[in-house]
Assembly symmetry: C2
Homo-oligomer: 206 residues x 2
């Protein structure tokens, strides 16, 4: 299937750790019709987690087979467990006219761009490095050295911003959420195949 014929749109929300992409993504899922893509993982289900909703749970063997078969939009190994976004599941939703959002780091987003060049890539930025530092240290899990490493990593990451369509500075959360929602609405107003159908209808009416 030609992906440009998809009725749903794929939004990729990305940015450095601490910029707030997770929170914005959750708000988008909770408050709009945009749906998240359920990941596949090899880790054990935790209490309350539901197959197909929290994750698709699978074995390491099956996961690696899917990797071989190019079945993931992106995948990663974290502490010995595998996590990935199954391409087929994303395609199913898009084909059904459902918007899908992926929350993903910069490297992952660049990989997704190769598969879905028509995706809408949104970079979430912190208002300043001072604020980012504050947010990261607020989590309390960083030494001064690892903090410095993360900030200089962030500087490297933002240099990829020109691969993105939009950037939203997350200073005030409500403002940032409203901006991302506006991007979703605006993208659905782009001149596209859908509009040519309406024009065909016009012709039948005149």
């Amino acid at each position: 299937m030609n992906r440009s014929e998809h009725k749903g749109k794929l939004f990729i929300i990305s940015g450095p750790s601490g910029a707030g992409k997770g929170t914005i993504c959750k708000r988008l899922i909770d408050e709009t019709k945009v749906e998240i893509s359920v990941s596949m993982t090899t880790r054990q289900p935790r209490e309350g987690e539901v197959e197909g909703k929290s994750y698709y749970f699978t074995t390491k063997e099956d996961f690696l087979k899917a990797v071989e078969a190019d079945g993931f939009l992106e995948w990663a190994e974290v502490y010995g467990n595998y996590y990935g976004t199954p391409k087929a599941k994303v395609d199913e939703k898009l084909a059904a006219g459902i918007d899908v959002v992926l929350e993903i780091d910069i490297q992952g987003a660049l990989n997704v761009k190769e598969v879905y060049p028509d995706g809408i890539f949104i970079f979430i930025l912190p208002p300043s490095m001072a604020e980012l530092r504050k947010r990261i240290t607020g989590r309390g899990s960083e030494t001064e050295e690892s903090l410095k490493l993360r900030l200089s990593q962030t500087l490297k990451e933002v240099s990829y911003i020109d691969k993105y369509d939009y950037c939203v500075v997350n200073g005030e959360l409500e403002e940032a959420v409203a901006r991302v929602k506006s991007i979703v609405v605006a993208e659905h107003s782009r001149v596209s195949q859908n509009i040519y159908k309406l024009i065909e209808q016009y012709k039948e009416e005149v």
Copy 2:
């Protein structure tokens, strides 16, 4: 001045007569920071009209000199009077970081696109030809023959939609206004020169 360095953005709201572009444009001006560009005209001021606010009033001679000097973004003669959008006034606002909206017919919009290729072109569409017919006849000034002419004119006009960035179907006015407002917000979230300044600031902070 290189127009891509402008801080303000130029929105062109266009579409067939009866689609409702005037109403949407007015709502945008009333409810957002977007400003309209004041036109220049050779017609006599009417009571209550204010120079520089309603119009820039001028003589036919000066108007035609400005046309010669390529001083208008677009201009037209209507019932013996001239109307035009002075380029310099639009540039002044954009340079000052003010968004400008132009409400303009399709031919005019295509002319503007040659001067401002970076403008954001929004096509307002009626939900159906039946509805357009109803709106036009509601104004009560059309014979059946002129109505047919207008509808087939509309069909010709919509064929230019692929020159536009966005299209908004004006079925329900509130919905259409919200969409146009979202487009304005989204366009201000595009990755642009402005964001590189923020990134430079980051570098100074680390």
